[in-house]
């Protein structure tokens, strides 16, 4: 643990503010496209969720549930697609990726 003794109080405060600012900067908004019943539940064909920078698919899926709680029942059987391909839960999502929720109900 580095000693901070003797540091001016203002410097410590600045450091805290910087850390807070960095955390804010480290968060990004990801747009998730919705289709079918999921779009009807959300009342929209897309939802923007705020997550940490360069999140993995599982993090975005969880954030979607927090953003639209009504979607939570469909999420356990749903998957995310990134750039038109199913994503693994640990797959990183990068800026500019097209992200979609693929929640299918068998039938017909």
């Amino acid at each position: 643990m580095p000693r901070q003794e003797g540091r001016p109080r203002s410097a410590s405060s600045t450091t805290t503010e910087q850390a807070r600012a960095e955390r804010t900067l480290a968060r990004v908004k990801v747009t998730v496209l919705l289709f079918g019943g999921a779009a009807e539940i959300a009342g929209s064909s897309s939802v923007r969720v705020e997550v940490e920078r360069e999140p993995v698919a599982a993090v975005v899926l969880a954030a979607l549930g927090r953003s639209v709680p009504a979607l939570e029942p469909v999420l356990p059987s749903a998957r995310l697609a990134v750039n038109h391909e199913f994503a693994r839960p640990d797959q990183m999502i990068r800026e500019g990726d097209e992200v979609a929720l693929i929640a299918l109900v068998s039938g017909g």
């Binding site: 496209l33 289709f35 079918g36 019943g37 697609a81 038109h84 391909e85 199913f86 979609a100 693929i102 299918l104 068998s106 039938g107 017909g108």
Partner: protein, 132 residues
């Protein structure tokens, strides 16, 4: 091995895969054809039509991927599928599939396998237009 995947707007005509069937050279002993028809009752209620929503181009990619997998797994010589996008009224065809294999069992099994996986994995959603 021949793989054909098509998406058409609205109902599928009976000649949608005519060119695929005409191309057969007689090397296979089994050709199975399946048509999915929009049925009048859904959960006991009358409907007027189904509107199919697709997430393209992912829908196309996934149909091709499944068709390739089925062709390899069941030893198919030919697999062709066509699916509707948009509104299809009751009684009309919304899905057609043709497979050819050296023998009957492989052709029939491949068809069931493909359709089951399509319903689970291919991004196609149905919106029902109720009659009332």
């Amino acid at each position: 091995m021949s793989i054909t995947v098509r998406i058409v707007d609205g109902p599928i005509g009976t000649d949608a895969l005519a060119s695929v069937e005409a191309a057969s050279d007689g090397g296979c002993g089994a050709r199975a054809t399946f048509e999915g028809i929009v049925r009048r009752l859904e959960q006991g209620r009358a409907i007027r039509a189904i509107a199919y929503e697709l997430y393209r181009p992912m829908t196309d990619h996934e149909l091709i991927r499944l068709a390739q997998g089925a062709a390899v797994e069941f030893g198919l010589e030919r697999i062709a599928v066509v699916h509707s996008a948009g509104r299809v009224p009751v009684g009309a065809c919304s899905f057609r599939m043709v497979v050819e294999a050296p023998r009957r069992a492989a052709a029939l099994d491949a068809m069931t396998h493909f359709i089951d996986r399509m319903k689970r994995e291919v991004p196609i959603w149905k919106r029902i237009e109720w009659a009332e």
